[in-house]
Symmetry: C2
Subunit: 340 residues, 2 copies
DNA sequence: CTGAAAGCGCTTACAG
DNA sequence: CTGAAAGCGCTTACAG
């Protein structure tokens, strides 16, 4: 009879180690826990027994006893979104430094799926869950484990995100500095917190820089964060006559901005000579398009470390954490064309 | 005294359910397992007790008993690579249909990290591990749990991947059909299985279509799969005089192909009028660049389902699975310019 | 400082 | 068909 080849062969247990080292299992467990007070020679015996047997603690047993496993959950709307992929990578790296693995799930931007995912992770007794809330309004799950919102607020859980207003202000100031006085702003989906923040920051800064003898014209559009929305709105904006149309378009995401650049190319409008374009995020593609995109770099590493740090803090110390991004000036922005 | 707010409140156990339903824990466990033979009225009592208590089985305890958890591991070189992100998403979806969660790790293309990750997942007693092997030569881990190679062979574990040769043949035939007789092929890194397969398939097909009175000139280049490599090699190829240079460039990845298109734009060579370009993979970006890229679509959904299916098969049935991709003709290819 | 023992919450032979 | 009981591999008071 063949044994099932998929069956894990019997692994050495703490008991085997104890026997080989002639100590009790308690002692083995203590050296495992790096416990203060195990006499050096016992400790050595145990360690070498572990090595000889190639002992690895059974994580499920430990989890059962301590009711916690070294796993954190991460839920994103869609891992194929380059920004979330970048975030996931950094969360994974940051978690790894703390000996935590990460369980990944996609909510597909669907609130019900999201809820199911959170609940499933909760059932698995993960140490904490990071969630990038779905665009379309979450139905947050009330869990008795730490949850941290990433990028977008999930329920009323603490939020780690870029300071959206500050970022938009920097972009607005950059365009104004270059001399643009007729600007279009493409915002994200209406009603989404992130969209609102970015838009308000931009408007705020423009208003601040506007005076009676140096007026700025600012038009606002809305669309989702995608390439396609950017392209459609870009076309809409740019189809007006050269004297009518803005000299700069600021988009609420890099993807939108790249869409805008495509529409400009279709209409034979040169970026940046005839039109400046800015994005937001600094996804990898931003520096790969031609011309390379001026944008606001989200401090993803800091977001990841801030989020991971918070998830292990006592709940009452889990405050919001807004991190300032940095302006990255590339080739998609320039002074406006001179007009006579 | 405040209790720690992070402590999970005591969850109802199988014992609580048993008591409430006035049955033994064994019986509860049996209804949990959807076990054949629990008399209907007991079954009902148990079910309603579970509902009332909002009982959720403790997965760690179950894992300890059965020595397996409903989790699979996935290791990719880099989740920010759009192809791997797409793959991860599909694996996650496919695993979800089987009630499995997925644990994600990045190897950063580093064989040692990869090994550590596989080992860590193994320690967690996952049901199986998918690995997209690191580019730079893995040092495979011998595990007593199922492992399936995805896209690139890991050790000697069964491989689920696109039929690379077939895909390249299709691209070669497409270019030849259009009339191209002077073609450059940019292969992936030398020594990598995938690179070799794609290249050989291409060469094979071209040779097959070549005859004495209809010769084809084919030049081969090598570089990694990145945008930058594509751009650099593209420039190298295209800097020769118009009569010297190829009328088509086939790249071993979409990223390379997009790089090639950038170099063409810099050199004011029009795609596809003066130069046809093809990629491989069909990443999302392929249909977003201008002109949209003709490429070979990897059947990612099929790869995901094939891989997940295999991981739950007995080892001896875990055969390789090569899936044919499909040619996606877009605007980056056209007949060669007519020359006098 | 160390050992013996209880117990985490399940599943599964074993009886009946 | 169901219950009583053993046991998965750990950790952690409790003694000494």
């Amino acid at each position: 009879m063949m044994s099932n080849p998929n069956k894990r062969s019997r692994m050495p247990t703490i008991k085997d180690v104890a026997k080989k080292a002639s100590v009790s299992v308690g002692t083995v467990s203590r050296v495992l826990a790096d416990n203060d007070t195990v006499k050096e020679d016992l400790r050595k015996r145990v360690l070498s027994a572990m090595r000889e047997l190639n002992y690895k603690p059974n994580l499920a047993a430990r989890a059962l006893r301590t009711n916690s496993i070294d796993v954190v959950g991460l839920i994103v709307p869609d891992i194929t979104n380059p920004f979330f992929a970048q975030l996931a990578k950094n969360i994974e790296m940051e978690a790894a430094t703390r000996g935590q693995s990460v369980m990944l799930a996609n909510s597909h931007d669907d609130p019900d799926t999201e809820r199911t995912q959170v609940s499933a992770l909760h059932d698995r007794a993960v140490s904490g869950i990071f969630v990038v809330a779905a665009t379309d309004g979450s139905r947050p799950f009330t869990a008795d484990i730490p949850i941290v919102s990433l990028d977008r607020r999930y329920g009323s859980y603490p939020l780690v995100a870029t300071d959206q207003r500050d970022g938009s202000r920097k972009l607005a100031a950059h365009l104004h500095d270059l001399g643009h006085r007729k600007i279009a702003y493409i915002a994200g989906p209406e009603g989404m917190g992130v969209s609102r923040e970015r838009r308000d920051g931009f408007v705020e800064q423009i208003e601040k820089l506007t005076s009676d003898d140096d007026p700025v014209e600012l038009a606002i559009y809305h669309g989702d964060f995608s390439y396609d929305a950017g392209e459609a709105i870009g076309r809409l904006i740019l189809e007006s006559s050269p004297s009518e149309r803005p000299t700069a378009i600021a988009a609420a995401s890099d993807q939108q901005a790249i869409g805008v650049m495509r529409s400009a190319r279709d209409l034979r409008i040169n970026v940046p000579q005839d039109l400046s374009v800015t994005g937001f995020d600094d996804i990898a593609l931003a520096s790969l398009v031609v011309p390379r995109l001026t944008t606001l770099r989200q401090p993803i590493e800091d977001m990841a470390s801030g989020a991971v740090e918070r998830i292990f803090l006592p709940t009452e110390e889990q405050t919001d954490f807004a991190i300032r991004g940095s302006l990255v000036v590339r080739q998609s922005t320039a002074p406006p064309p001179s007009r006579d």
